[in-house]
């Protein structure tokens, strides 16, 4: 009788303690319930490396962006398509190459020439062929506006840490995204790469400064799931 007594006591105590540990560990992850109107769950809380390219995750680096399977009316867009004219880029490089060659390695004169080059890259017009297309594109988030912790406006860039990476992405490699109200992600998830789906609008940089570049309004935002 006494042995059974002891065993039951230990059983009860161990049940109590395992339950405590289980509930404690569950409590640690629970938020304060603020994540209303965000249908996305946080999948990835670790910061990617600075400069990590989105194409490393999607493996789209070499595709020429042809129409994907018709099941999804949004075609997958390659970042390369956003920069319209590779020949224009090459022309600019060719233009400045002799000047760069003249300056010795690490010389002071290089920076202003690079600045001029970058200014010209940036001024390359956005690809007008993309205007009005339904596309989906992956990228990293740079927060511009948030409301109550939900990101309401952001810039989509092809690599992480765009705001501190030198040089910054050119105008034609940056998208302004305004997500749908119920598709806004929480700022806790803003380090994760995302998929954007929506209709892309393009405006030529040279004609209208205020609206130049790529814009997607009412965008669908989803956290990146590398198993896709």
């Amino acid at each position: 009788m006494k042995l059974k007594n002891m065993k039951l006591k230990w059983l009860l105590s161990s049940i109590i303690f395992t339950l405590s540990i289980v509930i404690l560990s569950a409590c640690d992850g629970s938020g304060s319930g603020d994540k209303t109107s965000a249908t996305n769950k946080s999948k990835n809380n670790t910061k990617p490396d600075i400069g990590a390219l989105i194409t490393d995750l999607t493996g789209l680096g070499d595709s020429d962006g042809e129409d994907q399977a018709a099941s999804d009316e949004y075609r997958e867009l390659d970042w390369k398509e956003l920069a319209p004219d590779t020949t224009a880029e090459e022309k600019i490089i060719a233009k400045y190459q002799p000047q760069i060659d003249k300056i010795p390695e690490g010389g002071k004169g290089a920076q202003p020439i690079y600045d001029k080059m970058i200014a010209e890259f940036n001024a390359l017009p956005a690809n007008p062929k993309l205007d009005g297309q339904k596309i989906k594109i992956p990228g990293y988030v740079t927060i511009l506006e948030q409301e109550k912790g939900l990101v309401s406006e952001f810039l989509l860039v092809p690599y992480f840490g765009a705001c501190i990476h030198v040089p910054p992405p050119p105008l034609n490699n940056t998208l302004l995204i305004k997500p749908k109200k119920d598709k806004r992600i929480h700022i806790d998830d803003a380090y994760s790469p995302v998929w954007i789906k929506g209709i892309i609008h393009t405006k030529n940089t040279k004609t209208d400064l205020a609206t130049a570049g790529y814009l997607i309004e009412n965008a669908d935002v989803e956290l990146f799931d590398s198993k896709e």
Binding site: I16, I143, L144, K148, C163, L209, G213
Partner: protein, 434 residues
Amino acid sequence: MKNQVDACKMSWFFLNGTLVKLTWKSLWNRRINLILTVISIAISVALLIGVEYLNKETKTSFLNTVSGTDLVVGARSGPIQLLLYSVFHIGNATNNIGWDSYQKISKNKYVKWTIPLSLGDSHKGFRVLGTNQNFFIHFKYGEKQALVFLQGKPFSSVYDAVLGASVADKLGYKIGDKFIVAHGGGATSFSLHKDKPFTVTGILKPTGTPVDQTVLVTLEGIEAIHIDWRSGAPTGLKISAEKAAKMNLTPKVITAFLVGMKNRITSFKVQRNINNYPHEALLAILPGVALADLWHTLGQFEKVLRIITLFVVIAGLLGMLTSIISTLNERRREMAILRATGAHPSQIFLLFIIEAFILSFLGALLGMLIVFIGVIVARPWVLSHYGFHLHTWMPSLMDATILALVILFAVLFSLLPSWIAYRRSLQDGLTVKL
């Protein structure tokens, strides 16, 4: 046999109703024990709920502080430091920035508007911020909300001032009142700009942001009060307020400025330009990004704080458990008497469960009351010192879940003494040898 079972069942139903009454009477008999245990649980529950509440309040207030601003620019320090002193008025700048750098950047073709900010003076503990009309036109908070005047209007002359809602409230100033600005940030200052008082021309509506705790004056006003000062102290030269107002009051330095772009996509480009500006060491940040970074850092602290408070609650409950177990021995006679009057051993078991339930329930209620009263008491102090308004605490779903868990744990912990008492009551029977 059947009669015995029936008799058992009858006494079960009879006694269960009075079981709670009995538990309570037993507890009340040991009321010092009761009160102390309830208080200990109350304090730990108050801590748990209070921490959750504070986290939520500060976060909401914090996220609402700046909106519609594309860049914040200051002397080169760190992004979070710049955000804190320029927008939250917490901490200080490492250096000022030159007026000509500011002018040059303002004229950049991508820039739509700028708001200059000049910090360094205070009035009765409230920060004095020198700025211009752009502050009232372009500054937005929350969800792109603009500033609204409760009374009066923006500044028009050198010594005009506009008060944030809490400043006017706490100091009881009205339109037309005059006040003196102090040099530096302390609540009591020994360096007063006595000869150049400012006049209140406007009072803003509450925003729930640090603007409520700020006294807004003109850049020229800041220049005027320092015109006969050098290196932070008055010189022998005394220039009157009227004379100063007529002198050239273009600032030579400002502390920081906010920037709005014509096209937000160009933010990176201009940010890069400012960070590489060759004539001065400047830092330009995207406030959205810096805010998110600060949020993440605070989130880590929040997790640690939450774990600590959870342990405090467990400590409180273990205290309750200890007090129940320690009284088990002296209550053996009590149990024997109950058994003699027909209580089934399972009811003895229940007695302890109910006791734990009552203790934790009362403790939880008292804890909630402590938080409720605490918030009301602390509200004015927090408003004047930290700049945010504590909303009245109301129990939420999260709080209800916490309480349910606390009571559940209390009951789980009490299974041990209940079991011991149950076994003992079987062994002891009706004779107890104490």
